[in-house]
Amino acid sequence: MKAAARALADLARSSTLRLVGAVAAVFLAAVLILAVAVWSTVSAYIERRILDTIRTDLAGLEAVWRESGEAGLARVVERRHGETGPEGHRRVRLVVSAAGDKIAGDFAGWPNDLPPTGEIVRFRDPDDGVAYTGMVRRVADGPDLLVAHDRAEHEAVMASLMRDLAVPITAALVIAVLVTVAIGRRLLERVERVNATARAVEAGDLGARVGQAGDDEFGRLARHVDAMLDRIATLMRGVHHLSDQIAHETRTPLARLRARLERARREAEADPTARGAVPALDDAIAESAELIAVFSALLDIARTEAAAGDTRGLAPVDLAEVVGDVVDLYEGVAEDRGVGFAVTTTAAVVLGERMLLTRMLANLVDNAVKFSPAGATIDVEVATSGSEFRLSVRDRGPGLPEGFEATAFERFTRAETVAAVPGHGLGLPLVRAVALRHGMKIELQHADPGLRATVCAPLARA
């Protein structure tokens, strides 16, 4: 029910559908105007036909009078008494002498004191109230003649006509609605393909293309979007290539630096006169290791971000197992600092790179352990609700300074309050890069006391 309501709401928001709906409404209005015009024309036509019949009838009666006089006319009128039209409606006649006496017919006298004007008359039967339309004819030197038809005959003919027209009109309306819906859906579909492509690219699939043919505006839009995406892909490839080059070109000199330092250290150790240089060389090796670590972390972040949305190499990973591994890894460190873990997990299988997800959680747990006061507990939780999972790590440390949540994910950003704790400010950027790579959302919230980091995303489909 809810889904259907949402789908309807979505449709209502679609401007394509609104446009198509407006066209359909104009079409329906045109059909209505046409119907009204047809109705009034047909109505007038039927009225004319009825009056023609009445005129012919009157002319016939007059001819009878001329041939066979009043007695003959009376006979004919009596004979035709009770005559009905095609739909079974009454047709009445009255012959009144010039002196005003009834000679023959269906009424005792002029009904409702109709004056014999020779005009079209409308009146009601004084006995049963049936409405009539008729004509009066004054025959020179002869009687006055009245012929009238039950007015319901007119409506009956109209109704019968409309009954015959109902089927084609309904068919036309149904076809109009179906065609409208079909055109609307086709337009929506074509726009939706562009939208779906944009969404896929936004989610990280840079290879997504609309691939829509046609020389109309939709085809052109699709081609423009595709060309734009090709351009972005080219630029991205350039960036990737550059970062690979930088990685190669920088890592090699670093590798040499490291190799030379290690050799110098070995030689210094072997040579009793140079042994004094060993501690300085050890420091230099440690510094180079630090430099390499920062450099590697930056490259890892950049390349993990660049891999966002690329589903190749992703496999089902149970987050509960990842939590188990990481907690197992950190339990000793935490215990030494007097910090405990409270772990609540449920099986939550996601599509991902296990090593990256482990590293992401390790970074979060690492932070939590570093910032926890002795005796505190770190909550690690994996929960699922519907088709979503939620992985959270909550510590009871100092938390983040006000307004730092947004910048905490930037490279080399560290809160001033934690200046004493070692680190380069690359842990959370990597966490965000891993989350991005897996299409997951990450959030930092104040937990009073402490900080809660939450990662959430849809579960892998079973």
């Binding site: 690979d244 040499r256 000793g332 690492d366």
Partner: protein, 226 residues
């Protein structure tokens, strides 16, 4: 033992060769991928160390072609492309180990040692003896001087890995990979804590520690009595 080094950076190549010569290897250096493939296929080697971005032929292509030719020599990739995905690519295409540049000498040597050990045709020993420590691999029990030492599963793996490289230096990254299956270095030195616990158990009642730490980068299980 013969090692082939395919590396276009002369300094790194010479350094790697120096390390291997120190371990008793006769080394041969080529700078071109295609030439490396030709030499590796022409005569048997005990070890091939290759870079990835090489003139002539990409390192991983060299390995793939070697494997197609039925050459099973252990191959270690040493590359600046060090992301997890790169490693997976390398291992999937036939590399036996993948080391990101820049690396430490100890790490390189420990990995070479592990590679050669794995490549040996004889089955892995059921019992590992290092000094007075006896490790029963299948039963997963450890005795020191005949006294049983109760270890957690991870501590057992840690000791086993150290024992397999007894007398040699095992870098933290290798321990993380073998014991925890982790291919990254956690910010906090979690390994140190696990090693110190292992020390507490294995050294109980003995003087000094049988596990030595070296230059803050890794650990060594002393092969002789401490």
């Amino acid at each position: 033992m013969r090692a082939l080094i395919i590396e276009d950076d002369a300094v790194v190549a010479a350094h790697v060769a120096g390390l291997l010569v120190g371990r008793g290897f006769a080394t041969e250096i080529v700078a071109d991928g295609a030439e490396g493939l030709r030499r590796a296929a022409a005569r048997p080697h005990d070890l091939v160390v290759t870079d990835r971005m090489l003139p002539g032929l990409e390192g991983l292509d060299v390995i793939a072609r070697l494997r197609d030719l039925g050459v099973t020599t252990p191959v270690m990739v040493v590359s600046a492309l060090g992301l997890a995905g790169d490693r997976v690519d390398g291992l999937e295409r036939g590399a036996d180990d993948y080391l990101a540049k820049p690396f430490s000498d100890d790490e390189f040597l420990a990995r070479v040692h592990a590679l050669l050990r794995r490549a040996r045709p004889e089955p892995h020993p059921e019992v590992i003896l290092v000094g007075d420590i006896e490790i029963r691999v299948k039963a997963r029990t450890v005795h020191r001087s005949g006294r049983h030492v109760a270890l957690s599963p991870k501590e057992f793996e840690l000791l086993r890995c150290l024992a397999e490289h007894a007398g040699r230096f095992v870098p933290r990254s290798l321990l993380l990979e073998r014991v925890w299956k982790l291919r990254f270095d956690p910010q906090t030195n979690v390994v140190d804590v696990h090693v110190s616990r292992l020390r507490g158990k294995i050294d109980e009642g003995f003087e000094g520690s049988v596990i030595r730490s070296a230059r803050g980068e890794g650990y060594m299980l002393a092969a002789d009595e401490p």
